[in-house]
């Protein structure tokens, strides 16, 4: 359990694997996803416009799947595209993957990624069909609605009070070479089911705003992963973060409750990440281990990621971890009893403040 994760560096084998993975990716089609937070924000139109532009530039583009109900502005755009019709299987219209593979376009547009295929299909889900197209070297441009992302279904359900059956895993989104957010304020969402009465409009607006916020944050996370990948591939060290990341340095003697509550709240407000970290060394006695465990239990309860570090100089160990994890703020407790031990700890806080170049340090009263 004790591991100094901060020391992890890519070794030559890892680098080789990375290069090989990139080479493998070369035969693969490119995946682009238009992400929206509700029906009617304009995902289909944006996707079809991109398809048309690519065709004008000489790419071979087909439409592999359309929505079952086509809005007028979408229908108008479909007229000018080559559409491979859905095939009806067990009474369910389904994307005709075999035919697309046989047709072998450069680019296939799939409107609505989150459909389940009827029993008897090769794949259960449409996103798996998309994956097959990508593997066959066909680029895929597709649309997806936030409420269908597996990992966010629960949150969306809490907001909308409604659950959808189909879903796409976040891992598939992470495969995307490009993700584009289709953002529009809630009042421009046409096409949403209008079962709500006039009195519900305000509530509906609030729901949509919450969904919109989540969609933007989902996209930000995917973008952040792309940035990390880019920096890694180009051998660049990430020294900045556009996302706030909090490191809570927990010590055995600390009254950690206020710090943990604050860390949790800050992470929520900033939509950031937070880590609870402690440093062990040879001097850590059993008694202090017990005290530490108490604090860690609190952190675990609050949902923190807990990391154990080992190092002879605690400040350097903490800062090494902080730098490799893009930490923007370090929370540290301070004791005021004028015992020799607390005086030494006080020096540790001073040392941290002095050395924490580029990172904020927040000292917590005890």
């Amino acid at each position: 359990m004790i591991a100094d994760t901060a020391l992890k560096r890519p070794n030559p084998e890892e680098l080789l694997r990375k290069v090989q993975a990139e080479e493998q990716n070369q035969g693969r089609g490119r995946l682009k996803i238009f992400l929206g937070y509700a029906a009617g924000v304009g995902k289909s139109v944006r996707m079809l416009d991109e398809g048309r532009r690519r065709r004008e530039r000489g790419e071979d583009v087909v439409v592999g799947a359309t929505q079952l109900h086509v809005a007028p502005e979408v229908a108008k755009r479909l007229e000018r595209m080559e559409v491979i019709p859905l095939r009806v299987l067990a009474g369910v219209p389904t994307m005709d993957t075999e035919r697309i593979l046989k047709r072998r376009p450069q680019v296939c547009l799939i409107d609505g990624l989150a459909y389940d295929n009827p029993p008897g299909s090769r794949h259960l889900h449409r996103w798996q069909d998309a994956q097959q197209l990508l593997q066959a070297g066909i680029s895929v441009i597709t649309t997806v609605n936030l409420q269908y992302i597996e990992e966010y279904k629960e949150e969306v359900e809490r907001i909308r009070g409604r659950r959808v059956a189909e879903s796409v895993p976040q891992a598939f989104l992470n495969l995307a070479d490009e993700i584009e957010v289709v953002d529009a304020p809630p009042d421009s969402c046409r096409g949403e089911e209008s079962e709500a009465g006039a009195g519900d409009v305000a509530r509906r607006q609030l729901e949509l705003a919450q969904l919109r916020e989540i969609a933007l944050l989902v996209a930000a996370d995917v973008v952040e992963r792309q940035l990390e990948k880019y920096l890694e591939q180009h051998g660049l060290e990430q020294t900045w973060g556009t996302r706030e990341r909090f490191l809570l340095w927990i010590t055995p003697g600390a009254d950690a409750q206020a710090m943990i509550a604050s860390g949790q709240r800050n992470a929520q407000r900033f939509h950031g990440e937070w880590f609870v970290v402690y440093v062990l060394n040879r001097r850590t006695t059993a008694e202090r281990q017990v005290a530490l465990e108490r604090n860690l239990a609190l952190a675990r309860q609050a949902g923190a990621r807990i990391e154990a570090l080992e190092g002879s100089n605690p400040v350097n160990t903490i800062l090494r971890f902080a730098r490799s994890h893009g930490i923007t703020q370090i929370f540290v407790p301070r004791t005021f009893r004028e015992s020799w031990r607390s005086r030494i700890f006080g020096d540790v806080v001073d040392e941290l403040i002095r050395k924490a170049d580029g990172i904020d340090v927040r000292v917590f009263p005890q």
């Binding site: 490009e178 933007l216 973008v223 792309q226 880019y230 900045w240 403040i353 990172i359």
Partner: protein, 380 residues
């Protein structure tokens, strides 16, 4: 939804770089409004010679620009008086962060926009995330570019809607290389500066998070931010932060204020900026120090932070006494630097405040100003 002291509504199209399509989206919306029967005019459009943008502006009514001569050069600015006289329902104003040429009525275009809004005219406008004042240091940190034209965060927060105009960086770079954004020589320079892929990805992430935050501010429970701190209030209620920023003559104060503004916004906290000196009128300071302190306090006020000058012999003790009296939960300090140069910061201020603060959190804010890389000229 928002408390609107003005008549008109403001909608901002937010992007992360030139060429993502902000102006285009704004023009599309203008056409849609016009089709719906609204009276729409263009107050100012910056097409940068882009063909698709110019084509999209066709059919819209333009209010002629105003020509202003400055040092023998003729500049064109939005003619705010003419927009007001024309009094449409909607007015398009490109480049919200623009600084007007000296001799204009307002220093900043966003001030013109406020005047138009006050007249009951709705405004559509465009800006990039890097123009937000509170992000200035962070953007400098990862782009090496100090953005000069900034907008105070509260101006953006007062907008009724903020819409993200998104485009993946790869697509943006392709557009740049095709010459769709800048003419070739400018495109080359751009590729070496703002338009590096890693920079674009970071800026885009920033814009996505900022837009999410703008939605959060508008649609979640009303915040207490912006309200003055009530003197003598007891310790803050659980979860409610009151932040005190310590401003000095040190240039790091500006970065400290920006950083604090960001934290205050996200935590929906209340915020105070103070300078501690021997005399309230700063008469014991050197003129350049006094000027720096006044500049920093002014800057805080521009960001809608309450400011005060505290009188006291001992900086740390005066701060703590003030903090106790006002129920401050967090003190923001810049990191003391070794007292080199003319402005000597008391090297032990941080240590003393941390020791005296007892029941108050103390945040020592990092110096995010990038160390210039030797041999590389910083772009501005």
């Amino acid at each position: 939804m928002r408390d609107a002291p003005r008549g008109g509504q403001l909608k901002i199209f937010l992007g992360y770089a030139a060429g993502v399509g902000k102006t285009y989206r704004m023009l599309e919306e203008a056409h849609e409004l016009k089709r719906g029967g609204a009276d729409v005019v263009v107050g100012y459009l910056e097409a940068h010679g882009r063909k698709d943008t110019i084509a999209r502006a066709e059919g819209l009514e333009f209010v002629p620009r105003r020509k202003i001569e400055y040092r023998g050069v003729l500049f064109e600015e939005m003619d705010t008086a003419a927009v007001l006289a024309r009094h449409p329902q909607y007015c398009l104003v490109d480049e919200f962060a623009h600084t007007n040429v000296p001799g204009s009525e307002h220093a900043k275009r966003w001030e013109d926009v406020h005047q138009i809004l006050e007249a009951g005219i709705h405004v559509l406008t465009t800006m990039n995330v890097q123009h937000l004042e509170s992000l200035n240091d962070q953007v400098w940190q990862f782009t090496g570019v100090r953005v000069r034209e900034t907008i105070p965060d509260w101006v953006v927060q007062q907008a009724d809607e903020v819409v993200m105009v998104d485009l993946p960086p790869q697509a943006l770079l392709n557009r740049l290389k095709r010459g769709a954004i800048y003419p070739p020589e400018k495109a080359q320079t751009a590729l070496q500066n703002f338009f590096k892929e890693s920079t674009l990805v970071a800026l885009r992430e920033l814009a996505l998070r900022q837009t999410a935050h703008e939605i959060d501010v508008r649609y979640s429970t009303p915040s207490a931010s912006g309200q003055p701190i009530i003197a003598g209030s007891p310790a803050a209620a659980a979860g409610h932060d009151k932040i005190l920023i310590v401003v000095t003559a040190d240039p790091a104060s500006a970065a400290l204020i920006r950083r604090d503004k960001r934290v205050t916004d996200y935590l929906r906290a209340e915020c105070f900026a103070v300078f501690v000196g021997r005399h309230a009128d700063l008469r014991d300071l050197q003129p350049y120090e006094r000027e720096a302190v006044e500049k920093h306090l002014n800057f805080a006020r521009n960001l809608h932070i309450e400011t005060r000058i505290l009188e006291g012999e001992d900086v740390a003790e005066t701060l703590i006494a003030f903090a106790r009296l006002h129920g401050i939960t967090q003190i923001f300090l810049a990191r003391s630097r070794p007292p080199s140069g003319l402005i000597a910061v008391r090297p032990d201020l941080v240590r003393r405040v941390v020791r005296l603060a007892r029941d108050i959190q103390v945040t020592i804010v990092a110096d995010r100003r990038r160390n210039p890389i030797p041999g590389i000229q910083q772009q501005t």
